[in-house]
Symmetry: C2
Subunit: 254 residues, 2 copies
DNA sequence: CAACAACATTCTGCATACAGAATGCCGGTT
DNA sequence: AACCGGCATTCTGTATGCAGAATGTTGTTG
């Protein structure tokens, strides 16, 4: 009676499908998205009880998520005080992109030496996709492909620590870029710079790749910063934003 | 009856002395120290209940601290499983120092342009202190001064985001360096390299400063990695470490 | 009318309680 | 003797309760 293995397939049934991701992880991802996309605006207060209800979880996993998001610079924790969605100052943007330029420059240099043939193939595919979206004027699609490209270049450096470092900065940069939709001429330039980068990578020119991507990021940063500061000057200071202290009802969003 | 302000000084009494640092923050600092110094060895399991008792706190703040330490790469979180003190593989060390070299190189380049006269003065003082400890053979004192120097150079770049990024890597690097006490000849070289760096900074030679520090860190990394791998080969694989599953009783340490 | 102080309210930080997942043990089977 | 299945135990993930800190409010005083 070989009646074993009744309840479920004993040998690999592929992959167990839902790894049942933890609540604090879900909350983290979800909140990051809301903050990056500006649906939770800078300066908005975070009342834990309120937010936890909106998310349908308890305060415990929420607090864990908040601590982590604070590391990413998306939330400002104030000891014993209500935390806030992090502000978005021009000066800070400048610093983020300065570091990003260095990190991605480094990554591109290494990628030129370490990228596999397959890596380069995928990069080229992404490049074509970007150019397609650019020609068609699909901003959002371009945006997504562009981010994939940046991440892929970093991945090609074959250094997980570098990738993690990059990731830690990425959310902040993405958030800033979201608020500052770049101009058309910058868009054109950006596509061209990506093309140059790809050529440098394919010819294994480490120094050129590093320089090109670093400058590309720096320029993007400059544009974003100017855009943000333009917005800042329009809203000089909320001075006394009356007294309503609910700049963001999360319920409407979540 | 001008009897106001009885309970305590109404106008600033300097600074409120004990800001009463939160438990999760204390736990984080304490655990980081224990891990970096090797008193909580790589691979040691972390039973939350046990550890929280050892630390005299509850699981809630401990868990928050663990999540943060995981971001620093000191702890490996395994969903629904007991977490562990992060392993310390040679390959990983290599990656950490590769990134550190890039980050500190970038920092030195910026520092050459942005360091104030006072910054340079303090750097020179640190350099003298390092040379003193080196001549006397005070390893620990040298070690401390050396770390201060690296941090100060990064601070001179006047970019808080860069400093935070650096800090995130520092604990890992420090941990590796702790396990691998460098050789004497490397020590001598190291002091010389620091001197060269200082000269480059003082003469505002950005490119040179960047190159010198980057190479300095890379060399250190190579030494540390070799040391670690030497240790690894001695302990090829714990195979079946019998069945005692308490590689580290924290009570003895804390 | 401005300023201050005591109070009431709100929110955070921490501890504890509970349910589900994972692991190890033990007996039964081939 | 090795393997498998089921059970007991252990540990994590989450929810809830409670005390202290911080803030807003109100009444009072100069």
């Amino acid at each position: 009676m070989p009646a074993r293995s009744q309840k479920f397939s004993p040998l690999k049934l592929g992959k167990r499908l839902p790894p049942a991701v933890a609540l604090h992880e879900q909350a983290r991802t979800r909140l990051r998205g809301l903050i990056v996309r500006g649906q939770l605006p800078p300066g908005a207060p975070i009342i834990e009880t309120e937010l936890s209800q909106s998310l349908g979880i308890s305060r415990t996993p929420l607090r864990e998520a908040l601590k982590l998001l604070a590391v990413e610079g998306l939330i400002e924790l104030r000891s014993n005080r209500t935390s806030q969605i992090a502000a978005l100052r021009g000066a800070e943007i400048e610093q983020v992109f300065e570091v990003m330029a260095g990190v991605e420059g480094m990554a591109a240099g290494l990628a030129a030496e370490r990228a596999s043939a397959n890596d380069l193939k995928r990069l080229r595919q992404l490049q074509e996709r970007m150019e397609l979206h650019h020609d068609r004027g699909d901003r959002d699609d371009y945006f997504a492909a562009n981010q994939d490209a940046h991440r892929l270049v970093v991945a090609c450096a074959k250094n997980p620590i570098l990738a993690a470092t990059h990731d830690g900065l990425f959310a902040r940069a993405e958030r800033a870029r979201f608020l500052a939709l770049a101009s058309r001429s910058r868009w054109d330039d950006s596509v061209a710079e990506h093309r140059d980068l790809l050529i440098a990578l394919e010819s294994r020119d480490s120094a050129a790749a590093s320089r090109i991507l670093s400058h590309h990021v720096a320029r993007t940063g400059r544009v974003v910063k100017e855009e943000i500061e333009r917005a800042e000057s329009k809203t000089p200071a909320p001075a006394k934003p009356s007294r309503e202290r609910k700049p963001a009802r999360v319920d409407d969003i979540v």
